[in-house]
């Protein structure tokens, strides 16, 4: 064997080691105790795979394979620029803004996968015969990578507030999306049938897929963005696997398929937690025609407003308090204030727990991250199934910026939230809701919890409301 052959075999083994690192790393993310270690293991696998690739290119060059000097300029410059941007943004992002950053990283990953296929396509000699499987993988890589690139940028822009979060409906928008999908499929089929490289058709496919990513994501409301980001994450994985087929590289295929599958499962779990189907979200659910039909009978009873001093007394003399944090708390960045209040109560001997709905915050588990950032002890965060039986024992349930996930209407059929798993807040002996107004939640319906006779409404922004409660509890 020549040196090059030996190195190529060793590099393939290193790629395999990297892939094993990804699988074991992901499986160690099962529990909070091993999750960080799992992520580091996965990063180590990545470092091994990348270092091995650099060595492979070096040895190829030394063995006479022509590698232009500019190739190293490209690699070093690309790594420096991309790595610098990635490191800077990842270090400095606020945890509340983290979902849009993940979406942005997803966009560039999908973009890179599409670029590999485009480059490969440009390298095909004009007029030569292209194998049907090569053609299919290149086209799939370009389509999926492009959709995920523009789609993730739009999703990120919506979460960041650069693009309005509410669904944007263009007249005939769905027809445009359908037409784009049809154009993409027809152009792809035409390519497969011709069996020769055709730049024009490929440009049509690229343009249609890029636009499709935009028109697909624009009509989806901000609250559904987590599901969309997860779906696009799965797309990127698939695009990377396709890139692996295009350049015949096993580690791209393994890692891409792994992420494609994990993203798909995660997307389904998230959609299930919101009692929606992925298809329903992608077509643009709640907002459409059935809003009026979903109006709940029996709502519209009287609402009792309550002041911070009264709430403080209830809290200070309670034994068990359950805090129900929601999207409003995340938006107001009140996670530190809620921890401060909880610590004050604990000093008085009150038992404080947090009830975390699976989709509280902006992504599943996002609320855990936000509260963990505010140094809330992990064991106090209770998942829905664990905390629901405890509401009946709770003296006070303090709902902060959560709405639809507490609506008892979900237990009955005939409402847009029907069947959605909810926190049994209405079982608590007393309920306090901190909320800015009687505004409706994402589902656009009244929350029966607010008209419950046990409920007192503290009308305030989550952060201001908590600040006034902290002051009032100190004074008790």
């Amino acid at each position: 064997m020549t040196t090059l052959e030996i190195v190529e075999i060793l590099v393939r083994i290193a790629w395999l080691v990297g892939a094993v690192g990804f699988v074991i790393g992901l499986s160690r993310m099962n529990s909070p105790a091993t999750a960080r270690n799992g992520n580091l293991l996965s990063a180590a696998g990545m470092a091994i795979a990348i270092a091995a690739t650099a060595i492979l290119i070096l040895v190829r060059q030394a063995s006479g394979t022509p590698v232009a000097g500019v190739a190293w300029v490209i690699i070093v410059l690309g790594v420096a620029v991309g790595g610098g941007l990635g490191l800077y943004t990842a270090r400095n992002v606020k945890m509340t803004a983290m979902p849009q950053l993940v979406s942005l990283f997803n966009a560039v990953g999908g973009g890179a996968a599409a670029l590999i296929a485009i480059d490969d396509y440009l390298g095909l000699a004009a007029g030569s015969a292209v194998r049907i499987d090569t053609h299919i993988f290149i086209v799939l890589d370009i389509i999926i990578g492009s959709i995920t690139f523009t789609g993730s940028i739009i999703a990120s822009g919506k979460l960041q507030g650069l693009i309005p979060g509410k669904p944007i409906y263009v007249p005939g928008g769905q027809l445009v999306t359908l037409a784009l999908a049809a154009i993409t499929v027809i152009a792809a089929l035409a390519l497969f049938v011709s069996g020769t490289p055709n730049l024009l058709l490929m440009v049509v496919i690229l343009a249609a897929a890029l636009t499709f990513g935009v028109t697909m994501t624009l009509p989806i409301g901000g609250a559904d963005m987590p599901v969309v980001i997860s779906l696009l994450n799965s797309f990127t994985g698939t695009a990377v696997a396709m890139a692996g087929f295009v350049i015949n590289n096993p580690v791209l295929i393994i890692a891409g398929a792994l992420v494609g599958a994990s993203g798909a499962i995660l997307t389904k779990l998230m959609a299930d937690a919101m009692n929606r189907s992925v298809l329903n979200i992608m077509i643009g659910g709640f907002g459409g025609g059935d809003e009026a039909a979903g109006a709940v009978a029996g709502a519209g009873g009287s609402v009792r407003a309550i002041g911070p001093d009264d709430v403080a007394i209830q809290l200070a003399y309670a034994q068990h308090v359950i805090v129900v944090p929601g999207y409003g708390l995340a938006v107001a960045q009140a996670q530190h204030a809620v921890r401060e209040l909880a610590e004050l109560l604990e000093e008085r001997g009150v038992d404080v727990k947090y009830a975390i709905h699976p989709v509280a915050g902006r992504m599943p588990g996002h609320m855990n991250v936000l509260l963990a950032e505010a140094n809330v002890p992990y064991p106090q965060l209770m998942e829905m199934d664990d905390i629901n039986p405890e509401f009946a024992r709770a003296d006070v349930a303090l709902v902060i910026g959560a709405n639809d996930v507490t609506n008892p209407a979900a237990r009955r059929p005939g409402s847009p939230v029907s069947g959605m798993p909810i926190l049994d807040v209405d079982q608590a002996k007393s309920i306090v809701v901190i909320k800015r107004s009687m505004g409706k939640g994402y589902a656009g319906i009244d929350n029966e919890l607010y008209t419950n006779e046990k409920t007192g409404m503290l009308f305030a922004d989550a952060k201001e409301g908590l600040a006034s409660l902290i002051a009032a509890v100190k004074a008790v």
């Binding site: 790393g25 992901l26 690739t53 790595g83 990635g86 990283f105 480059d119 992990y378």
Partner: protein, 112 residues
Amino acid sequence: MTAAQLNDLLTALTIFTLAILVGIAVISKVPATLHTPLMSGANSIHGIVLVGAMLIAAEATEPASQILSLVAVAFATMNVVGGYVVTDRMLQMFRKKPTAPKPATDDAAAGS
């Protein structure tokens, strides 16, 4: 397509299919609280596309190809570095509150 080419394709498809099944098996066990870090962690893993970007950069002779591979390398590196760093930042927060001063006294004992 020759028999050898078909054989290679089937090998690649086998790897692809099994990796999908591994992905499903590994992910279905993760608790909801870790879903956001998990999504971010999976997001970093598809940064492996950097390996592909480097390989096409090494073979890029045409200017168009060189520009494409430069952008691909930059994009992929941003995905890898940013992805792992932000995931680590999230997971760093999932630590238990230091309740007992026990580790501190251990340290002190070891130091004295």
